[in-house]
Amino acid sequence: MLKRGQTTIFIIVAVIIVAGVILIYMFYPNITSVIFGAESPASFLRNCIKDDIDNNINVLSEQGGYSEPEGYVMYKDKRVKYLCYNAQYYLPCKVQQPMIRAQFESELSKMTRTKADECLNELKDNYRKEGYTVSGGSNSEIKVEIAPENLKVRFNSPMTISKESTQSFNGFDVEISSKMYDLLMIATSIVDYESTYGDAQVDLYTQYYPNLRIEKTVLGDSSTVYVVSDVMTKESFTFASRSVAWPAGYGLEG
């Protein structure tokens, strides 16, 4: 009888623990606020903006760093930007975008701006609900910086919050772990190879960088699509090139 009672108690405790874990999992940001007190502004902004950033990175990384690419090839239903192109046969490509990282940062900043404003407003509202007086924090300018190992979103919006004491912020930095910088620099190097020699020998890169995976696909019009990815983080960057294209036959017809 006693044993049966013990078993029941164990089962009840186990169910409570499992339910607790599930709740924490589902409502993590809110629950952590409840348990550990108010989040720091940067932490709040990070949680608020991360999904949007991830989605935007996905779009950009599948389209050669452009949200609305011009001069692209369709590959697996995606518009993949030509970062190097030559309309003629037999000639090496002309670089279309020499600053791939800067382009990626600029596009990501543009795409994230709306959400960044929303997040800042939400942050201010949250402080006001907690009885803080909030000033500033409007006209947010955000800047994305991609560096090795991470991607940083800088909210250049000075803000002051006061309750019992006053806290001033020049801005907020949100960091997201990412290997995108490495992938973009490899892409830059491949574009250099394509424009100089007409074709990139991708084995060289994988020999030097064990976590690198480069998928190279030549399409029917001699365009080459490169998918550069990190085998550990699974991040990837896709772009296209058309260099030293070979026609069918003698190329007397377009």
Binding site: M74, M99, M185, P210, A248
Partner: protein
């Protein structure tokens, strides 16, 4: 004697096929210009591409000049220097570089000169600006040597400096960092642990704002335009040497820094707070699994049998002296001496790998198994061809729609890289014996078939330095150059005079070559043709058309017509098969199957007999 001359024409008909030969995988918004089109240099095309030589009607910008882009100032290709990243790209149109805030120059600019950039224990062969950029990312001082113009030497120089235990005091505790001798300074060992705060306002001490992250303690060389190298073994030291440290520098008497070459921080004799653990670590840029001490310093290569061996935790051991030297140790639970060249690399263990006896890291296998069940090493590549097979073993009888592929083993996965469509590239491969088996390397290379049919003798034809052709023996009456052009190889327009012209031409060729050509030069791998549009395919295939004058005789007194000359040209004769073979070798011509093995409709060629105009009855 009356003669009747029959004309045998092997006209080539482009095979019409049931299958779909062209993949709709690449719909491009970019313009494509054929070799004969009249073009202008266009700053921006309708498709949004910069500086292309395209037909006038495909140009979207007002700036267009009826000349080649290379002859213009705004679209001329040159070097574009990115002053932020320090990268330098060639063949960038001036307008593209300027629009992206780059520095364009026609000639190779001095800021693009490469030198040796040392980044901790790694190195990168890059420009000075790039070196500064990478160093700043890693929180290191810029160490650039412009005089070192050899990439291999550069990489090796970063490895040359000995490493050891750098002992110093921190918070009244004797601690240690495992670093290079030059890094064993107060700034070197304590500086890296300093964190930089973000853009927080003065006076705000109550809340930290997430800011810049501290520089990693173990530097990693970020990829550059010129890749860096894979790290090699650690330094060998004399284990019997007395423990003596070099006092490098000190702020005061109690805060000195001592360097012990070849010693590990966990060496008991150093008396630091760094002890032995059962944990392991993968170091960026290093292939092996390393033990890690309680201070987070890497120790020797993971060897489960030496987890409690104090001498193994005291002195640096060479890779060659460690467990399982010269083997990959894939999925070994007890040995972390991974070997990247043999296909293993330090990775965190997971469901697909074995579990190590200690720690969480293992030598994961990067090798693959090909379609035939043969083991392939990481980085190894080999050729594949998707043809349904060469028809009847014909030379150049590649299936319609088939192409070559290059398979590459990468991180345990076989990647398939197609060579160019239309078999404009072919795959070549070669193997070397490494002593531990064969290592194959393959590449897609241009198929040099274009001038095969212009070769008149076997020697020139099979000159592999210049072209990829084969000599097809025994094909006579090869009257190359589209004597009978057109899809049907119509001969109705051939007059007796034309026949004479052909004969004279053939005679001239024979005289030039010093004999009768007894064969034909054809592509080794027949090119694919765009046969569903335009007329180029027909003209390429028509090069296999031939005219064979067959002579018949009839006696004066009775009897029928009897073939007396070139009778093998008659339908069903021995030459028909050879002619068909010639057709298939020219391209997507003649009796062929597609790459999934379906035959084309019809015979793929036809033989017609006609009486030549002007011949005697």
């Amino acid at each position: 004697m009356d003669k009747k001359i029959a004309i045998i024409i092997f006209s080539v008909i482009v095979v019409s096929l049931f299958g779909i030969f062209v993949y709709a995988e690449g719909v491009s918004s970019g313009e494509i210009v054929n070799t004969l089109e009249k073009t202008v240099c266009c700053e921006k095309t309708n498709g949004g591409l910069f500086c292309q030589d395209v037909p006038d009607n495909e140009c979207a910008s007002d700036r267009k000049i009826p000349t080649s882009c290379e002859s213009t100032s705004f679209c001329k290709g040159g070097f574009c220097f990115d002053s932020v990243e320090g990268t330098c790209l060639d063949n960038v149109p001036q307008v593209v570089c300027n629009q992206n805030n780059g520095t364009w120059s026609d000639e190779f600019p001095p800021q693009c000169n490469l030198g040796c950039c040392v980044l901790g224990d790694q190195a990168s062969f890059v420009t000075l600006t790039r070196c500064k950029r990478l160093s700043s990312f890693l929180g290191l001082e810029t160490n650039f040597d412009a005089s070192n113009t050899n990439e291999v030497q550069c990489i090796l120089s970063a490895r040359a400096e000995e490493k050891g235990a750098c002992v110093f005091e921190e918070d009244f505790d004797k601690t240690c960092k495992f670093v290079k001798r030059s890094e064993c300074t107060i700034e070197g060992v304590t500086g890296v642990s300093e964190t930089t705060t973000g853009n927080r306002s003065a006076g705000d001490k109550s809340r930290a704002v997430e800011g810049l992250t501290p520089a990693p303690t173990t530097p990693t060389a970020a990829p550059a335009a010129t890749p860096s190298t894979t790290p090699s073994a650690t330094t060998t030291t004399n284990q019997n040497a007395p423990v003596t440290g070099a006092v490098v520098s000190g702020i005061n008497g109690s805060n000195k820094v001592e360097f012990f070459a070849g010693k590990l921080c966990s060496a008991e004799e150093l008396g630091t707070n760094c002890g032995i653990t059962k944990e392991t670590i993968c170091l960026p840029g290093f292939e092996e699994v390393y033990f890690v001490d309680t201070c987070g310093n890497p120790a020797n290569i993971y060897d489960a049998s030496k987890v409690n061996d104090k001498s193994y935790w005291a002195n640096v051991k060479d890779k060659r002296e460690s467990c399982g030297a010269s083997s990959a140790n894939e999925d070994s639970q007890t040995c972390g001496n991974c070997n990247y060249l043999l296909g293993s690399y330090c990775r965190e263990s997971n469901s697909e790998t074995a579990n190590p006896t200690y720690g969480d890291n293992i030598c994961a296998s990067l090798n693959c198994v090909d379609a035939n069940g043969e083991k392939k090493l990481h980085g190894e590549s080999w050729c594949a061809f998707d043809s349904a097979g060469l028809l009847g073993g014909f030379i150049g009888g590649n299936s319609v729609g088939s192409k070559f592929y290059r398979n590459v083993c990468n991180n345990g996965e076989v990647l398939i890289e197609p060579c160019s469509d239309f078999r404009q590239e072919e795959c070549i491969e070669n193997s070397i014996d490494t002593g531990k088996g064969k290592y194959t390397q393959a590449a897609c290379r241009v198929n040099r078939w274009q001038d095969c049919t212009a070769q008149r003798n076997k020697k020139n034809c099979e000159n592999s330095d210049k072209r990829d052709c084969n000599w097809l023996e025994g094909i006579e009456y090869v009257l190359m150059g589209s004597v009978l052009s057109g899809e049907n190889g119509s001969s109705s327009s051939i007059e007796g005079s034309s026949l004479q012209g052909i004969k004279e031409r053939a005679k001239k060729v024979i005289e030039e070559e010093g004999g009768i050509p007894k064969g034909a030069c054809v592509p080794e791998n027949s090119p694919g043709l765009n046969f569903w549009s335009g007329g180029e395919a027909a003209s390429v295939c028509a090069q296999a058309n031939a005219l064979c004058p067959v002579t018949y005789e009839k006696g004066l007194v009775g009897g029928g017509w009897k073939c007396v000359e070139n009778c093998e040209c008659l339908p069903g004769g021995e030459l028909e098969l050879k002619r068909a073979q010639l057709c298939t070798a020219m391209g997507d011509c003649g009796p062929k199957t597609n790459f999934i093995g379906q035959f084309g409709s019809g015979q793929g060629y036809k033989v017609t007999q006609e009486k030549l105009k002007g011949s005697k009855k």
